[in-house]
Subunit: 344 residues, 4 copies
């Protein structure tokens, strides 16, 4: 943390300010310029925020020098984190995310609707080469009048699909009280709207399942990593980050896919990063080309919505791919993954 | 809902599309132009979203004509909703929000820190004319290493402050499991990060206390009203909306106070609207002038952070006002309120 | 400027980096911490930008400490700048902006359309108390097929309106080649789309007329002041800043009026600041309440679109007020201005 | 255009409104629902904007159905536009953009600094396989105190570099008055800050050189196409669009590269689209991976900044690649281009 004092700060006030910092157990470096006095804070500043200093009248500005996250930071943990989904279950084929050699695809419908629908989708995505089945049981819908998901019944249907296909399953958790139903879920998704639901994150830190943490609608990269930190600091290091489009001023796509997040997160963090092109654009025909771009950007995995009959889907009908298009996408993706020697 | 079909849509596909709509119990108006066919949907379209139609290959675009919210809409409920906070409690002075004759101020520290601190703040804000005491017991902090609030102990201290001053109290709820501790809280705040925590909203719909619902960091006005709709549709019509600054590209203030929300929400909704200038700007010296502007914009109430010793505050130190400045602000505010014949 | 070096920077590279800075005539303060080395640059850093340092492999980050603007800064020029519009012209009533005692209103139609239209509008706004007449002769339209303004003929009509009413006139300049037609224009507007048209700004720096510089659609406050600096550094200190709404993710108003800009600009700059509520919201009925809020926020002047028959206007029909509503707005505005002892 | 009338609109007012539309030479389709009356406008609505109708009291909303651009639209011109840069000049190797078979790279330094610098850069980028040389002679800098470019001398140096290497040259035009110096420039760039400098666009419409039109800092896709329309409607159909990052709320990269623009623009327009990863991220080490992603997204060409000694560059030092890294990038890019059968 660097604190810059105002030109007119009195020596006495500066001394008292510096004493206050030392009392917090921090070291201090002071640089007196002609115009400004610059104070560098040394030690563990992770509990501090720049705002803590701005209330003092002699302070002009304060800025972090070190990243506010620790456990999520690559400087803290230089090796890539590799997460295994669906390990040690009879009949289930585990999927590894973050090993640098593969580009696994998580696929399935937006919502679990009926047994027939989810089983058909599971078989279709498996046939095309997907490695994890997704499907929403609890749905975060903007309107209270929209379909809210099948709830625990949806989870039961995902379990059947897992048994049928051997694919690990991924579904979203919206409330702590439902966590008891997630014992057979292999990858627990935290949606964009809950990415700063800190109580939920803390609880997932105490649970023993990998977490797929989506970036908020207008979450910064730093906030995303701080939310990962909430989970990790509470005991669960199996966190996978997910970029799914951010909100901008232009509405030609539902959100704006921010692919720069992939190389940037790989630089500053050791956690795997998944791209969700379906929610990013919200437009079916655009999903394949964004998937290719995500592969070239170095994403560790992709999450793609697939429905056997998109025009009859109960939610997000406009962005789900039918199996025939998903198969073509997988073929193309395999070629892009191969450029870096990766397989799907 | 208006659906526009592509130029090249075949008559047969149009017929089949229209049949599908009729089967949902909706009426249809068809306008065939040279270029496009326009289909107007008649009836209750609140369960539909434009995305439901875009998956169909013959559809070019789809748009809502009616607002997606109902109970929160002024066309549904033409009279202003007036919410009373702290009614029917011995020794407590109730506060009315939304009556058009008053401009009550909710004030107090960002966080409840100690008994001494909250009691002093409560007395100071009461003396200056505030009508409701605020103070955070559960704190949504970006970092897991920052002070997370006193929790239920904070609620107990707010109760003491209420007893001492007679001011109703307002504090934030972050998790459904804590709701049992809110029996003596008079106004339950839903923070910006939880404004689309739909499970929390549903639960508050079943609770019997007024709710102060904050707009999300990048929430649209429509989303804010849909979140209010979640609470109302579940049984609680005592919802107060709060604009607290939105996220933009320019970081010279913490957020950007969007005062246009006040007249706009008054036009489309009957719910009261509160402005929170403290979180909007995050800068102490800017709070008074934004408070005056909010009064002139027609806000029904203001929420302002006040701390007896801001530079020692455990959170948001940079934006809290000391009592002396809060008193001056209240004097100025009274003059602005008086222009429209309102009192504080 | 503060430059933070990477942990792993070699002593030799640090020395060479420091030498490079000294060769640019700057002083250096070095603070070596356990983790990072912090280098403070002393002297005139206005020609440098943080990017200049980031290409060096040993640099982790670089940040400005001083503002990048000088002439526009309050620390450079502590007294408010007061600009007089329309001075020393027979029959013209000069208008002063920035004196802290008045809240003059600039009003008139979006575009100059016909002689009859502009003369009627000029008389109507004068009658209601406006102090400067606005009207677009050169129109920046998104579409090449929309009305592009009357051009020099529009300027001639504004001159007639000035003669008729004695009001100074304000109109927008879009191209340097047209500047010769602005000899009788009293306040030259630079529109949002040209706010970083640096060649135009340089030319206006050499011209002898006050400039009304609008903030860009997504211009930062710092960029606005740097654009003012372009004009001032070229010789023209009569610059008035204008906030006219910024672009955000929510489209319920055309733009988002950022009233925090008023107190912030007053803090960091000595230049007057005008609010344009008409372009900010783009909605006629919202203009009066935003005008009141702008007055309470401390704006030095307002610019409001008025048309004698808005529904027949050739551009921006939806945001122009008819004279009857403008008169009511002026009455209300006078009351808000009076709170701080100002008159219109 | 579809206009929706308010529920309470009187029959008489509707008739009068419809008559007004017919007088503009447009046809009308009327759909009367229970709640709303919907009016569809038929004919050439390109001169109208939704705002034209909103001033009428009986209008609730108005929306475009057809795109506002015509000449830039794919429905107007179904075949891809292919632009040739540097044709018919002795010793110059022409470069084709938009043919679907190639992925040419435009490369060179941010600014032309000295003869030695630009000649070295030109030779380096040619050696690595670039097809067009870029270099700024007129520089749009936020600060008036920053290096403003060599001006016409910079153009002369680009001509020398063209002669030496046979590469066509691309440089930015900032003012109409400088156009006479662009006779030997092969591709004229319009920068992000001038993308709605309509006078400049009109002038380029009358000039005979291909134009590289950059999307504004917060320009919408629709605005970008309307700016292309300004050039095309004035006679020049050789327009190439460029996405170079947009402004969002998160500043971890300088701008946010919006790769969805590539497939979207290919869908709605026939014009080629170039990606500029250097300005998008502003971070040297991120440029290669974004280049690969842009190739996979289907960009028709890339523009990449290369400087023989980036840390000594006079502008944008942090984002320019040294030749060694550019060569590696070109090798990788060739592999990604090959997936779709393209060559550099």
């Amino acid at each position: 943390m660097i604190v810059i004092l105002k030109k007119e700060a009195a020596a006495k006030d500066i001394d008292s300010f510096v004493d206050g910092i030392k009392q917090r157990g921090l070291g201090v470096h002071i640089s007196k310029g002609v115009d400004k006095t610059i104070i560098g804070l040394l030690g563990d500043t992770s509990k501090l925020s720049p705002e803590d200093f701005l209330a003092n009248d002699i302070v002009e500005s304060a800025e972090r020098v070190s990243a506010p996250y620790k456990m999520a930071s690559r400087s803290f943990h230089p090796e890539n984190t590799v997460v295994t989904i669906g390990a040690n279950q009879e009949g289930v084929i585990p999927c590894v995310i973050g090993d640098g050699k593969s580009l696994p695809v998580i696929a399935g419908p937006c919502s679990v609707e009926t047994e027939e629908q989810i089983l058909a989708a599971a078989q279709a995505v498996k046939k095309a080469g997907a490695r994890i089945l997704r499907g929403g049981a609890y749905k975060p819908r903007t309107s209270p009048y929209s379909f809210q998901g099948l709830g625990v019944e949806g989870i039961r249907l995902l379990e059947k699909a897992k048994k049928l296909t051997g694919l690990p399953v991924c579904t979203e958790l919206m409330a702590i009280s439902e966590l008891e139903n997630f014992e057979n879920v292999d990858l627990i998704q935290v949606g964009a709207r809950n990415f700063q639901n800190f109580d939920l994150l803390k609880e997932l830190g105490k649970f023993h399942k990998p977490v797929l943490l989506k970036r908020g609608l207008s979450g910064t990269i730093s906030e995303l990593l701080m939310s990962a930190e909430y989970i990790m600091a509470n005991g669960n290091e199996n966190v996978i980050l997910c970029e799914r489009g951010i909100r901008t001023y232009d509405g030609y796509t539902r959100n704006c896919l921010d692919l720069s997040a992939v190389p940037y997160l790989h630089k500053v963090s050791h956690l795997p990063i998944v791209i969700d092109p379906s929610h990013a654009c919200g437009i079916r025909w655009m999903v394949p080309v964004l998937s290719s771009a995500a592969a070239a950007a170095g994403a560790d995995a992709l999450e793609i919505e697939v429905h056997c009959c998109p025009e009859k889907a109960w939610s997000d009908a406009s962005q789900q791919l039918p199996p025939s298009e998903f198969e073509k996408l997988m073929d193309k993706l395999a070629k892009y993954a191969a450029v870096e020697g990766r397989t799907l």
